[in-house]
Amino acid sequence: MHLTEEEKRVALEQTGNILENYSRERGNLIPILQQVQEKLGYVPLVAMEEVARHLGIPAVDVYSVATFYNQFRLIPPGKHQIKVCMGTACHMKGGNIILDCWKRRLGIDVNQVTPDREFSLERVACVGCCTMAPVTVIDEEVHGKVTPTRVDGLLFSFGVKILKGQQKEGEAVEEQ
């Protein structure tokens, strides 16, 4: 996914602001990256280079950390982030069925963003709400006991209208 010049500029500016609060110690690397992600929603390449310069370490070291940990996202997320829990209890209660539903409705695969950047889909390990399985987390809000129809309902609450049978399989249709 290509970033616009504007996005790069914002990323650099925000990263610069964050770096002012951190000393040049290697131990600050993960907290810095977390801050960048919290501000921007993702960790772009330009930000990683900037962080590397600040800490005086090779950019590839920053890249290796950012790609090792599941938390860091390298592309901009959708406006609404949908995280489907894939923990044991959710799995036993049909978490993969729910994940399939989201994939089908949004027309994207895991770790992808819809073309209009409205939704992104992720699978997460246990969110610790096993008793509410299966669980989907949308923008930090936990939804428990999700069923395929509830998926449609949740999408509806974001203004997405599901027109069954009138679209290609798996395609979500925006309300006009």
């Binding site: 110690e25 290697r26 131990g27 600050n28 690397l29 993960i30 907290p31 990256l33 977390q34 800490l55 290796s64 950390v65 090792f68 940990y69 599941n70 938390q71 860091f72 894939m86 923990g87 044991t88 209890a89 799995h91 036993m92 209660k93 049909g94 069925i97 399939d100 539903c101 089908r104 997460v124 390990a125 246990c126 969110v127 610790g128 709400c129 096993c130 008793t131 509410m132 399985a133 669980v135 930090e140 936990v142 939804h143 428990g144 069923t147 395929p148 129809t149 449609d152 069954k164 049978g165 399989e169």
Partner: protein, 634 residues
């Protein structure tokens, strides 16, 4: 001796102040709403809002508090009402209507709305108390005791109920005394491996060097375990106090909470707790005038399961990818930044204040000889009363599943219990009467792990469960050891083939062989235990593997490639179209007799129709192998 009397005096003042604040809560009605993550998922925040609105609407005077989790997660959202003249009563499954009625009829009138009551918190002659139920008789809460009864964001509640007395007490004695007490208690690490905590502390204390660290490991990554989250969200001060005592015992001045990224609420509450403890003079320089200084920071994990392993955790705090290191040297001698470091699990630290306060002997009275104390289990999966339960070590699985958990829902048959997460194993019905502690579990091929317990019924396929856990560990393998990241990959491919009906004779033997290699060739606990779910399911449920391989049949009707959905024509009701509407891909159509039929080409096997079919018809069934559909002439 002088400083110890200052400590006692300063703390007594603090305690007095907190008790006054706590007592004043009881003067008027008090409503507690459980707003830990599990409560929130069930809508507790809306309930909280309704209660506040209703109180205002009726002009009633009552205090509303947000509390943590009592462990009765099945009944969330949970509300507890204290009204003078009545025992404290907990209400479960609270809806907006029930919340409104509690305010109007109980607080406004004198009707305690017993039809919605779950149980009372104290024995009385009006409502059965929690301790009158089988669950209450088996449970023996030590570290969960105050969870859900106090506001985690108010340090004075914790202090009023005896909190920080252990720290104050410890500070009046020598660190060696604290160490000996923990050693004598026989406390074993609750993170999973069960290493004696006292020995770990002693090693760190004796290690040379001025600078030492203590870390609370809250990187609870096991799918199916959520007690660390619940404790941190419900009673963060208990763990903080334990960490401070640990620091005093080993001689550390700096501590950390390593909390995983997926627990934002826990991070928030721990940060708040640290701040309050600093303000109260229980953290920072010269704590309570004792001369001992200690401070704590929070480090947030970044979503890597392997970081629950202590050397990988340290690597990530140092800004490196979380790869485990070779042990020895153990972190207790060379840990964070090469300094001696004690890393303890949340629950381990939560026991510490209780042991210091009530003594090692008291702690040993509960549990088994080899594993004293209690164990916290997170019950999830196919069990009626899901949630957290703290029971003495040595309780049997049967008591946990049938008394604490109230058995299997929908009258299904129990099949197995998966215990210990991805490092643990599946135990069958024959193991139900085994008393559980660290040692008995590892003998049976499972592991205490962090205490996650997922109950499986007849609808759960054991091959699929093994595949699920291996898929998890495979993805989380850090890539350092070849046998772990490639060996598990090979095992996973075989298991995937089996669940798709493409298994070959000899696959089971190959899996067993690979499992031994992966165990032998891995550095850390992740790889060493990764094959456990596969080994235990083969050990106890080999027939299911064979059915998949030889007959292309999934006995539990779970593996999607091996089943088909089918509507029984003789049971389908002509006037009902519930399944048609529920199908997300329009695979169901009525035939010329208005009996519904599934187009097997279109069906995505999502189970919507099975759920939608009204229980009086029960017309949708699953068939395995899928060829049976053709035989039935559909």
């Amino acid at each position: 001796m002088k400083s110890s009397s200052i400590v006692a005096e300063t703390f007594a003042k603090l305690q007095q102040k907190s008790r006054t604040a706590w007592q004043s809560l009881r003067d008027r009605p008090l409503i507690l709403v459980g707003t830990a993550t599990c409560g929130r998922a069930a809508g507790a925040l809306e309930i909280l809002k309704i209660i506040k609105e209703e109180l205002e609407k009726h002009g009633l005077d009552a205090q509303v508090l947000e509390v943590g989790c009592m462990g009765h997660c099945y009944a969330e959202p949970l509300v507890t009402v204290y009204k003078p003249g009545f025992p404290p009563i907990s209400y479960g499954y609270v809806t907006e209507g029930i919340a409104a009625r509690l305010v109007q009829d109980f607080l406004g009138g004198d009707d305690p709305c017993l039809e919605f009551a779950l149980a009372a918190l104290e024995t009385n002659d009006m409502v059965p108390a929690l301790t009158d139920f089988p669950r209450g008789m088996i449970e023996k809460p030590i570290i969960l005791d105050r969870c859900g009864l106090i506001d985690p964001a108010k340090i004075e509640h914790y202090i009023a109920l005896g909190g920080y007395a252990a720290l104050a007490g410890a500070l009046t004695r020598e660190p060696e005394w604290v160490l000996e007490e923990i050693k004598a208690s026989g406390l074993r690490g609750r993170g999973g491996a069960g290493f004696p905590t006292g020995r770990k502390w002693e090693t760190c204390r004796l290690a040379p060097g001025e600078k030492k660290y203590v870390i609370c490991n809250a990187d609870e990554g096991d799918p199916g375990a959520f007690m660390d989250r619940a404790i941190l969200e419900s009673n963060p001060h208990e763990v903080l106090e334990g960490l401070a005592i640990a620091a005093y015992a080993v001689g550390a001045r700096q501590g950390y909470f390593y909390i995983r990224a997926e627990y934002p609420l826990a991070v928030e509450r721990v940060k708040k707790a640290i701040e309050q403890a600093r303000q109260a003079g229980l953290l920072g320089i010269n704590i309570l005038g004792s001369g001992f200084s200690f401070d704590v920071d929070v480090f947030q994990g970044s979503g890597a399961f392997v970081c629950g392993e202590e050397t990988a955790l340290i690597a990530s705090m140092e800004g490196e990818p979380g790869l485990p290191r070779h042990r020895p040297p153990f972190p207790a001698t060379a840990g964070l930044w090469g300094k001696p470091t004690v890393i303890n699990n949340v629950k381990t630290l939560a026991y510490v204040p209780h042991i210091i306060e009530r003594g090692a002997q008291w702690f040993r009275e509960t549990g088994t000889a080899g594993s004293p104390g209690t164990a916290v289990f997170a019950l999830a999966g196919k069990v009626i009363n899901t949630g957290l339960a703290e029971v003495p070590m040595g309780t049997t699985l049967r008591e946990l599943v049938y008394d604490v958990g109230s058995g299997i829902p929908r009258g299904k048959a129990f099949k197995a219990v998966q215990i210990g997460g991805p490092s643990g194993g599946c135990l069958p019905e024959t193991a139900l009467d085994m008393p559980i502690d660290f040692d008995s579990l590892s003998q049976a091929g499972a592991m205490m792990g962090s205490g996650g317990m997922v109950i499986l019924d007849e609808d759960d396929c054991m091959v699929e469960i093994a595949r699920f856990f291996l898929d998890f560990t495979q993805k989380e393998s850090c890539g350092k050891c070849t046998m772990c990241h490639l060996g598990t990959k090979q095992m996973l491919e075989i298991l995937e083939a089996i669940t798709k009906g493409q298994g070959k004779p000899g696959d089971i033997e190959l899996l067993l062989e690979l499992a031994e290699d992966v165990k032998a060739g891995s550095l850390c606990g992740l790889g060493k235990t990764a094959p456990n779910p596969v080994l235990s399911t083969i050990r106890y449920f080999r027939d299911e593997y064979e059915a998949h391989i030889k007959e292309r049949r999934c006995p539990a009707l779970m593996c999607r490639e091996l089943i088909a959905y089918y509507i029984l024509p003789e049971k389908c009701e002509r006037s009902c179209d519930a399944c048609v509407g529920s199908c997300p891909v329009e695979a169901i159509y009525p035939n010329e007799d208005r009996i519904k039929v599934i187009d097997q080409q279109k069906c995505v096997k999502c189970a919507s129709c099975l759920e939608a079919c009204p229980p009086q018809y029960k017309a949708v069934i699953k068939l395995s192998p899928p060829e049976l559909v053709a035989e039935r002439g559909a």
